[in-house]
Assembly symmetry: C4
Homo-oligomer: 274 residues x 4
Amino acid sequence: MASDQPKDWRFKLHEVIYESNTPAGKAFDIGLLIAIFSSIIVVMLDSVVSIHLRYGKLFNITEWIFAALFTIEYILRLVSIRKPIRYVFSPLGIIDLIALLPSYLSIFFIGAQSLLVFRALRLLRVFRIFKLGHFLTEINFLTQALKNSVRKISIFLLTVLTITVILGSIMYLVERRENGFSNIPESIYWAIVTITTVGYGDISPITPLGKFVASVVMLIGYAIIAVPTGIITHDIAVAARQKKELPESCPSCSREGHDSDALFCKYCGSSLFK
Amino acid sequence: MASDQPKDWRFKLHEVIYESNTPAGKAFDIGLLIAIFSSIIVVMLDSVVSIHLRYGKLFNITEWIFAALFTIEYILRLVSIRKPIRYVFSPLGIIDLIALLPSYLSIFFIGAQSLLVFRALRLLRVFRIFKLGHFLTEINFLTQALKNSVRKISIFLLTVLTITVILGSIMYLVERRENGFSNIPESIYWAIVTITTVGYGDISPITPLGKFVASVVMLIGYAIIAVPTGIITHDIAVAARQKKELPESCPSCSREGHDSDALFCKYCGSSLFK
Amino acid sequence: MASDQPKDWRFKLHEVIYESNTPAGKAFDIGLLIAIFSSIIVVMLDSVVSIHLRYGKLFNITEWIFAALFTIEYILRLVSIRKPIRYVFSPLGIIDLIALLPSYLSIFFIGAQSLLVFRALRLLRVFRIFKLGHFLTEINFLTQALKNSVRKISIFLLTVLTITVILGSIMYLVERRENGFSNIPESIYWAIVTITTVGYGDISPITPLGKFVASVVMLIGYAIIAVPTGIITHDIAVAARQKKELPESCPSCSREGHDSDALFCKYCGSSLFK
Amino acid sequence: MASDQPKDWRFKLHEVIYESNTPAGKAFDIGLLIAIFSSIIVVMLDSVVSIHLRYGKLFNITEWIFAALFTIEYILRLVSIRKPIRYVFSPLGIIDLIALLPSYLSIFFIGAQSLLVFRALRLLRVFRIFKLGHFLTEINFLTQALKNSVRKISIFLLTVLTITVILGSIMYLVERRENGFSNIPESIYWAIVTITTVGYGDISPITPLGKFVASVVMLIGYAIIAVPTGIITHDIAVAARQKKELPESCPSCSREGHDSDALFCKYCGSSLFK
């Protein structure tokens, strides 16, 4: 009985910190998110010179309070589970540590405090909260569709990168150093800026031939933007069909996955409409 | 009988001002839209310095005439319905009031007249007119599709915003103040400019590492633009299917999915119109 | 018999000039396109100062030769059909006349020759040639899909324009004259540049609030680009389904338009598979 | 027996160099890709002035080593097949030769070494490696979808080019030389920059009328970007359907469209595997 008590206490703490489907857990998650959000706002404002000069000291104190809070949270996360090492090396655990370290590093190294911006990574926790309620279905749905697309999108991005290396190199030969295309990596950067239709204009072609090549790059970029869109649209449709097909099940063998126009079960051959 | 008369008068006025499926109501709506449009053109032209210097006085008079017209319209809207308070706090009512106030505020406060630009909000009334006739189906259709997408698009925009906060913060560390990334909010602004492929070029990376990070941001932006497109395309297809499927189901086998021009059920062959 | 001869001659000429499914007609169309293309190249090159200084006289002579050729072509078009007035007021006829006039106007007005650029409009004839052979189906298909989209796309563009008027006006209040937003039309121009993700950077926000509003405009533009894409994708799918359904026809009543999974004719109720 | 030996030796070499489904062949392909990649990195770094000044000599030696390696590879490719002339004139063979020549040309012509950037073309070999394993299906799938789209996309690009020629020419008349639109080809370049939503801002309209025309160009570009997307999305869906439908047709009723996991025909209920 006595040995159960620490387990109970750990179990309750675990429920509050790690689970988010209980009132206490949800409250904790929302509170944590507000803390993360506020601490990021402070880091942001502190980076603005004029505000830093006026409120720098106040921000310094606030940041230490946040550091203390997040340290306590991190320790609680460690003690509330049986295998703390698992959390430490989980993606969220690594992010939490990265977000925690800069405050302590700044004692030893000047400038390390600017690494506090990595606290922004913790914003990703926002999706844990949204996973509750009505958003859950939508997030699962989108995640499923994007998972199906990952491989196709990577082939696409690889092709785009190869094209930008080739076109960037050609452009380096065409425009030469004096027109801003000072080396091949710079020219590839220009090709990416152009093919993605961002177009800063910090580097832009000057010679007629360069403008012609640039036009080709732009039209390629304009036409192939359609490819990832087509891929994801298709995979969303596929994910939607799978989601939709789930409820229908065969009255004989109770297996699922039949087309909406099927008359007989495709697994056991008996009629779907008895 | 005598007590009915004011009701009749109010009813008729209501029909003209609020309804748009009668000839009088339609004429009123079109007239109102022309007035709104003209008043906005006047505000626009008055903002151009050279035109203001020549026609400033004329514009001033015109604006007061429009102010008077819209005030009368507002009063008529109030008296022609039983519960005027409802209109006042309806979205269109609030817009009408916001569009009305600047003219009167400019008597007391210098510069308040520039708030007249909010009259542009009244342009949204244009959709009331288009709701008539053949456009009605299309508008309903698009509205339905977009309503289905709202939740998914907001998850998407939230993800994009989180990414821009993280990437913007990283870029602030990489490029530093002297290269235009003067603080974190500014860097996040840059990340939004880049990820949306707008690319003004007012802030652009200068260091090689910064250009590398920027390239990653651009490629992310180029690939994930596909997500909202996929979502909306899918929801348009779903909305189209629902519109199409709604009217028919076979009275014999109760199966759905018949074309709008079908006379017999395509599954059991019995007539759809018993 | 004698009275038939001019008719024959006109008929043959008509076939060569207006039809493009005979060898002679196709050759004429291709020859005409080459002439149009060459004449545009000449106008283009002549607009480049350095080339104009060297070859200006040669270009002048060439342009007069093209003008003579196109005049002869225009006259032949008039005489080879019974009702020439129809051609004159047809879209292609008006374009042909617009392309013809500048050469003659330049005799009386200096500078009118620069209107020769309108000859570029004749490039639209290229689609007449492509209408032949395998491209015909694709062009019809795309035209059908786009025709279905026109109304929805115009509602979309109207919404975008209303948004740009409102956001442009707000931006004019936020950024003021000294930051480049010199008047409301200019601010609306900026809003269009931003919402379409073009982003020249000739006008860009300077104040923090302006940058915030701009970010909102960009994210709106980034999200709603999906709408026309969704519309056109859907209408292409619909057009494809209609095209696909054409071949299948009922063996009893020979009516078409059955779904690919239909078992019975939806018009007469008899089996589709006898 | 003796005559077989060289054949065996050639056969084995062929397997290593040309095939990639054996361990040796795969290792060769990956090794080759690493060599190509490294040689491109060297060319890239050598183009950066500051790095060239420090490591120029080292890079020079490395480039000659790579040249020797690729020459050996080219010779091995020639000797390991019966008809070497076929390889020489195949697309990959031409690319390999183009990538090889600059090293040797640089002995005779100063500056020819900069043509080494064409070695980037060899990066296209990366797709040979990805053709193995799980990526094969995806690549085939995407290639099929894009093949179907080629014709439609070219009609689209032709239309866009015609529009840019017309709009560019009009803009040349509207803005004139002094505002940066120095000749018609330049104006067409601007129109392409604008319609593809790249928007460098190196040339941008200055007069009110020019800004109006530019706004029209942008909105056109914003609306028609949807067309290639719609086309490709549709063709991806078609390719997906074909892939899915290919393997199965019911042996009883010969109807197709069964899922890949179906055991019984969904139309007649008989087993799909008799």
